[in-house]
Amino acid sequence: MGLTQIKNIFSKIASSINNDIVLTDLNGVIIDCNRTELNGSIVKIPEFIEGKEIFSEENYDFIFIKQYNFPRYLLGIKDNIQMLNVVSLLFNDKNYKMTEANFYRELVLNNIKKENYDELKKEFKIEDRNYYRLIIAKVENSEIKNAKYIIDNIFIFDKNIILDSESIAIITSKPDVEIENLCNMLFIEFSTDISKNIKLLVGSKVDELYDINSSLKDIYNILKLIEKFNIVKDIYFYEDFLIPLLIGSTRKDLLIQLNDENNKKYDKIFKNKDLIYTAKNFFKNNLNITETSEKIFVHRNTLIYRINKIKEISGFDLKLFEDAMRFYIILLIKDMDEK
């Protein structure tokens, strides 16, 4: 049963009873009710509602309305728990069938219990792979069909599911390089032929298909980060955000203190545009002198001179992986702080 259908049934009930009745999402945001002034507002929901059949809060009693067998909405009614029980029966979706597509969808959304999972996995004959990761393509509502068409053609051996009206999830086990190539293609094809409003996010790897939801959670974390720091890219790779995510999860006061110390210690480097530019590009080119000097167009001797200069001032020898990593993080904290 889809939301429209649920809303239809709800409005019929709402108009025929006198008690206050509300339809909300799982956070208590009112989607529909029979007292129009409440529309869009929030009713209070107890914190732990999972596993409960029916629960009460303030004057309302609530019951879950399930969509595809999973709790999606809440039906609340004032002062008449019997009526709530009866009314809720009208929402029973007898036609729901767990298809393979539904299985993947619910899996991505973390709606499948482990014991059911094992059964369904057998039923759909799903074989194990080395790892799994999720790619989310976010597009405008009106372009979701076009996006799906391209994705079907590009990620031909991977499952993809429409998650909501603006996002498609792709479950893939492909190697990184291939993912990057295909995502690039998808981006270019979509943005030049359909619309440039597309965001591609590649989540973390998980070992078990059952855990694919954590890949989705990581994508949500990237989304938060890119909004906070106004980062715009064609493709957002989880790995690219690993260190920013780590830093982001560190205590703020600690970070500020650290950055203040760095500002004092490395003032001479921070104020030298050339040194910062050189260091960043040296990281970008995998600590390769020849490649970096070619790309940023400075003589290799100049490059070596600058790298030595950084060593002289800070003690970090960027030619060494460990030192490079530490200095990389210092610069990252500095950049994040500036925003």
Binding site: I150, T192, K196
Partner: protein
């Protein structure tokens, strides 16, 4: 008409980074314009603004007579070829080329005509039924170009399309791209950080640095009359030599005094430096290695390394501790630690203002 015009274009990224600072660029219909410059100078950003993939912060962009600032990429009549080109692995070459047209709902007949035509131009008809895995690197690159050609665009935009190829193939593809440009007779805008690529392919080159355009000219003019020190240094390999020089006037003649030697300036240069009040001032003298001539009365330098290329020899030397590279005839033998003495051909040297680094005589 498919000229591309950038008027006072600025790009500030959402994170506040200023990538492009008020650039003006007039790309003429049917020309092969190369954008070249060091990493981070804004080449890709500029190309993506032309493509419509990147919002223009300020300024006006025209393709043909149409202002395209608010026109979506798909309606701009452009086609792009990127460094990370990829082909649909499970589709044949034919279907790879046809895919974009299918998305745009072209008729089967039209698609067939276009794909056949593009394959003909690229000489890949025999490959049409193959899958990408069965193609060589160069063939794949051609298919990637084919995907752009079938669109029949007014402007081709290419971002380092050859950088993933090995050196030999890259040289081959350069020639092929030039030929393709000739055959298609449309506007190409091509991004690279490789000056050799720029010099060999561009009808004109736009040299960028740090978000600004440094110079736009044909390759020869860029080479012969660089506008500033950056351009002079960027183009040419081995690089131009730079030396501190003082301009002096004696008996009506003007000389550049370099390493205590006097180099007489030709009349044109002499007049300009006099007019611009540079007599008695310190300037930067730039001279390309191939403009050196051995001369007993010239600058003395100690040989550090010689590079024998057969048709010519480059001598890497030091004069008063500063590196100078000169090109000499391969028949002349020089040894490491030997002292050589040379002059630069005065009509070929450049004078740069020490502060602005602008070419004084241009």
């Amino acid at each position: 008409m498919a000229n591309v015009k950038l008027e006072k274009i600025n790009k500030v990224y959402p994170n506040g980074f200023r990538a492009i600072e008020s650039i003006d660029l007039d790309i003429v219909d049917k020309e092969f314009m190369v954008l070249v410059g060091p990493s981070g100078c804004g080449k890709t950003t500029t190309l993506r603004m032309i493509a419509g993939l990147e919002e223009i912060t300020a300024g006006k962009m025209f393709i043909g007579d149409t202002q395209v600032n608010d026109i979506a990429p798909k309606d701009r009549d452009i086609a792009m070829v990127f460094q990370n080109y990829a082909l649909y692995p499970h589709m044949t070459v034919y279907d790879n080329m046809a895919f974009g047209l299918k998305l745009r709902k072209f008729s089967k007949k039209e698609i067939d005509e276009r794909v056949t035509h593009a394959a003909d131009i690229l000489g890949i008809e025999p490959l049409l039924s193959r899958k990408p895995k069965q193609l060589s690197g160069g063939q794949r690159q051609r298919v990637a170009l084919g995907r752009a050609i079938v669109r029949n665009p007014k402007v081709f935009l290419m971002d380092e399309p050859l950088s993933n190829l090995d050196a030999k193939l890259r040289v081959e593809m350069r020639a092929e791209l030039s030929k393709l440009h000739h055959d298609l007779d449309t506007t190409f805008v091509y991004v690279t950080h490789d000056q050799t690529e720029a010099m060999t392919m561009g009808t004109r080159i736009c040299i960028m640095y740090d978000g600004y355009i440094q110079q736009v000219d044909d390759p020869q003019t860029i080479y012969d009359s660089p506008k500033n020190k950056f351009v002079a240094e960027f183009i040419g390999s081995p690089q131009m030599n730079f030396m501190d020089a003082t301009l002096v006037e004696e008996n009506g003649k003007v000389y550049a005094k370099v390493y205590d030697r006097l180099l007489e300036l030709n009349e044109d240069k002499a007049n300009i430096v006099k007019e611009k009040n540079y007599i008695g001032k310190e300037v930067l003298l730039g001279a390309r290695p191939e403009h050196a001539v051995l001369d007993d009365d010239g600058i003395k330098a100690k040989v550090e390394v010689t590079e024998l290329l057969g048709s010519e020899t480059y001598v890497y030397s030091k004069a008063e501790g500063n590196a100078i590279v000169v090109r000499i005839d391969p028949d002349i033998k020089v040894d490491v630690d030997q002292e050589i003495s040379f002059k630069f051909r005065s009509e070929k040297v450049h004078l740069f203002d020490k502060e602005t680094e602008l070419n004084i005589c241009k």
